[in-house]
């Protein structure tokens, strides 16, 4: 046998080893909560595959990543529910076999069919949701005052407030407190929103993303986070139970993220298996309590896999009431979105 033949045979033998099955990889573009090994490793072990996760920090970054990629680079996409129509219109999402997914077990209020379905075809399913509302330190502020932005934005709390640095939910929350419907926001509403945002900024000590807001709250730098919610305080709850959240009387903004399979995927079957795992009761419980941030699972059956303490932190028993008082994220068209982002930048620089 020649050295060349031996090399070829060796290569073939290596390829035939059981470990070679691990060569199958799934590439997913996700929010950071999916990067928790406790969530992903059970799927990898069950299927003998590797899941490569790429976290992004905003929908814009996710869309830009997709635009710069070749079809097939990505198999699974997790994205804010309000952004699903954008990726569907761009032809990026594959149809999901909804009969294979447990959507009947989902909280009906978060199915979001208007976003996830087009021409009767389902392209994504909601996997996790929560609220952009008011997080606060109950040891330092009067919980009654947290029931309205009107009582929060007073001199008493000036300098003790952080604003969550994401324009859509915070502007949505401002709109809700002004009695507007987030779904009907238009350019004419921006002056009133500007006034409200500037009032927030004047009294705010900081404007930060999740970790910065958590740090500010945990270290006592601020006592209130506007735009916060369970995703912000849940991971603090074990050590600092005084960190809590509420939904003001006027209501709050509902955030939801969806998962789907990309049209260009070369691994559609495996990608669908991943989606099925994520929306299964076990996967949902792990996703809900991810180390990056917590949130309510879309699948109600996940409750069977959560502890009473975890459910208490998520306010499991109050969801029906909360959902009835929450409005969806604003879903601006491209022009309004640009104006809202300009306004947000203006607020930050103020």
């Amino acid at each position: 046998m020649t050295p060349w033949s031996r090399a070829c045979l060796s290569a073939a033998a290596v390829a035939a080893l059981p470990g070679a099955a691990l060569a199958q990889e799934l590439n997913a573009l996700v929010w950071c909560d999916h990067a928790d090994p406790a969530l992903v490793e059970p799927f990898e072990q069950a299927h003998g595959v590797r899941v490569n996760l790429r976290e992004y920090e905003g929908s814009g970054a996710a869309l830009a990543t997709l635009e710069q990629s070749q079809p097939g680079d990505w198999d699974v996409l997790v994205i804010d529910a309000i952004d699903v129509p954008r990726v569907v219109e761009a032809g990026l999402m594959a149809e999901l076999p909804v009969d294979q997914l447990p959507t009947a077990d989902f909280f009906p209020q978060v199915l979001m069919e208007a976003s996830t379905t087009r021409d009767g075809k389902v392209y994504a399913v909601t996997e996790k949701f929560g609220y952009n509302t008011i997080s606060f330190n109950s040891a330092e502020v009067d919980a009654e005052d947290m029931q309205s932005l009107g009582t929060i934005l007073t001199d008493e709390y000036a300098g003790r407030i952080a604003i969550y640095d994401y324009y859509l939910p915070v502007m949505g929350l401002a709109a809700v407190s002004l009695g507007m419907q987030t779904a009907d926001l238009a350019a004419d509403d921006l002056p009133a929103l500007r006034e409200m945002l500037f009032a927030m900024k004047e009294r705010a000590a900081t404007v930060g993303e999740v970790v910065a807001s958590q740090t500010a709250l945990a270290t006592g730098e601020v006592d209130i986070v506007i735009g916060g919610g369970e995703f912000l305080t849940a991971v603090l709850a074990a050590e600092q139970p005084e960190m809590t959240w509420t939904i003001p009387d006027q209501g709050a903004v509902l955030w939801a993220q969806s998962i789907g399979v990309l049209e260009g995927s070369q691994n559609k079957d495996l990608a669908l298996e991943f989606v099925k795992y994520i929306v299964s009761p076990e996967g949902q419980a792990r996703l809900a309590t991810s180390s990056c941030y917590w949130g309510m699972p879309a699948n109600r059956m996940a409750g069977e896999h959560l502890t009473d303490e975890q459910k208490a932190v998520l306010r499991w028993d109050e969801q029906e009431q909360y959902l009835s008082r929450a409005q969806l994220y604003p879903a601006p068209d491209a022009d309004l979105d640009t104006q809202m982002q300009d306004l947000w930048l203006e607020m930050l620089q103020r």
């Binding site: 930060g208 270290t219 640009t338 982002q341 620089q349």
Partner: protein, 279 residues
Amino acid sequence: MSEGARGWGFVAPALLWTVAFFLVPLGVMAAMSFARLDGRELVWGLDWGNYAKLAEPAIGQAVRVSLEITLTVTAVSVLLAYPLAAILAFQVPPRWQRLALLLALLPFWTSYVVRSYAWLLVLSKQGVVNKALMGLGLVTEPLTLANTRFATVTGFVHFFTMLLTLTIYANLVQLPRNYARAAQDLGASGWQTFRHVILPLTLPGIVTGAFLSFVLCIGDYITPQILGGNNELALPQVIMVQLGRRADFPLASALSVVLMGLVTVAYLLSSRWLRLDRT
């Protein structure tokens, strides 16, 4: 092989590397700064609209904020680093100088992000600084130090003072002691010796460190993001907003070109002292 061809052969790897990973990306970035977004569609062309946005208050202010922070940091760092470098060079016995330099650099063995968060905790209302001030009875209420420009400048100065100390120290230890002695023999006072002899001869070290500080500071995103509390945005933060949230690569490119322009101006102003061929 001729002498010239062999020379090109030696230079070729570095040249190719520079072309592939510096000049080409730079060209793409410059070209993209004249493109525009039509919805989510990138339209190439010669559109000055991105540069016109510098006139918008929020973006124009970012340039101003960046310059103010950078110039403050550079000036404060020079003022702190020079005496420190002088003490290391002239007061610390030579056998201890290496150890002193090592100790000065020790904090930089930790991650830049971790160090910034550490400063955030130190400057917070319940942090070491406020507790010390209140313990000494100097203030009755904690001061707002974190999430301010003061915090950003403090975080930067912590880093750049040490960087400048190194460049100035390297200059100072090369100075023959006889220069100072000669000046004093000629009747110069200590201040005159410093002003007319030592300072001019250490200017290259100062300017090199100051230029490095300027470049690193004006392009830094992490420190103002963590320590500034987003209460005002510096230029790199506005660039990141365009990239991370709006996916507006043309505007981000234009702002990056402006950032490079500011660095180029700083280089031109300091180039006299940055020459490699000191004769």
